[in-house]
């Protein structure tokens, strides 16, 4: 799956989970850029992403994400595997 496609799907997940229709993700977006993206909502995002793409992340993978781009790459690598 193309990164652009993953990003688009992630955008919809973020809008739904964080209940903010104004979210526009880029690969550089981080938690600091979105007010609703706190440590508790982060877990809700992780679970929504796992369910949507039918994948699962390890704790170390989750801790390594600094930006949405990192998350996209992680998703892409799992979908290829």
């Amino acid at each position: 799956m193309q990164m652009e496609n993953i990003l688009q799907q992630l955008n919809e997940i973020f809008i739904d989970v964080l209940d903010n229709k104004n979210i526009v993700l880029t690969s550089q977006t981080s938690a600091e850029d979105i007010e609703e993206w706190d440590s508790l909502n982060h877990i809700h995002l992780v679970v929504a992403v796992e369910n949507h793409f039918n994948i699962s992340f390890t704790s170390s993978e989750m801790q390594a994400w600094k930006t949405v781009g990192d998350l996209c790459e992680n998703i892409q690598s799992k979908l290829k595997a």
Binding site: L18, D19, D38, S39, L40, N41, H42, H44, V47, S59
Partner: protein
């Protein structure tokens, strides 16, 4: 004896969000008649004020008043169900944390809590997305 670690967990409290901790304390003390209330603590890592109301022997409701606006607390207040987590003492904090994350629990954060003499605490989501807190038990 795979689940022996569960023996180390002991229920301590249910967390209850409030917009005004003083009013809630008054209600639990004067209206409901629970006279054993802790002092009010400020937990800096969580940016909340908390107070424990003993509602049965060694069983508490933790009143929690946010000191900063967060999306998470706003969502709970909007949901009209202020009871949002359960807290447990554990005799072996690190082992419990390892066991739970190994069983699919999601670690949200860990911190030292002023409400428990700066002992270690951690919030985790269960695989069914229920929020729990584990607290290092006093020696």
């Amino acid at each position: 004896m795979e689940q022996q670690w569960l023996d180390t967990l002991r229920f301590h409290h249910t967390g209850c969000l409030t917009q005004n901790i003083e009013k809630s304390k008054e209600l639990y003390k004067n209206t409901l008649g629970f006279s054993n209330l802790s002092e009010t603590f400020y937990i800096s890592n969580q940016q909340v004020k908390v107070c424990f109301v003993e509602v049965a022997p060694a069983v508490f409701i933790e009143l929690v008043e946010p000191q900063a606006e967060t999306a998470f607390f706003a969502k709970i207040l909007k949901s009209k169900n202020p009871f949002y987590h359960t807290g447990y003492f554990t005799g072996d904090f690190e082992k419990t944390l390892l066991e739970l994350t190994g069983k699919g629990f999601y670690l949200v954060n860990r911190f030292n809590s002023e409400a428990f003499n700066n002992r270690l605490c951690a919030f985790l989501y269960t695989p069914q997305m229920q929020l729990i807190e584990i607290i290092a038990q006093p020696n």
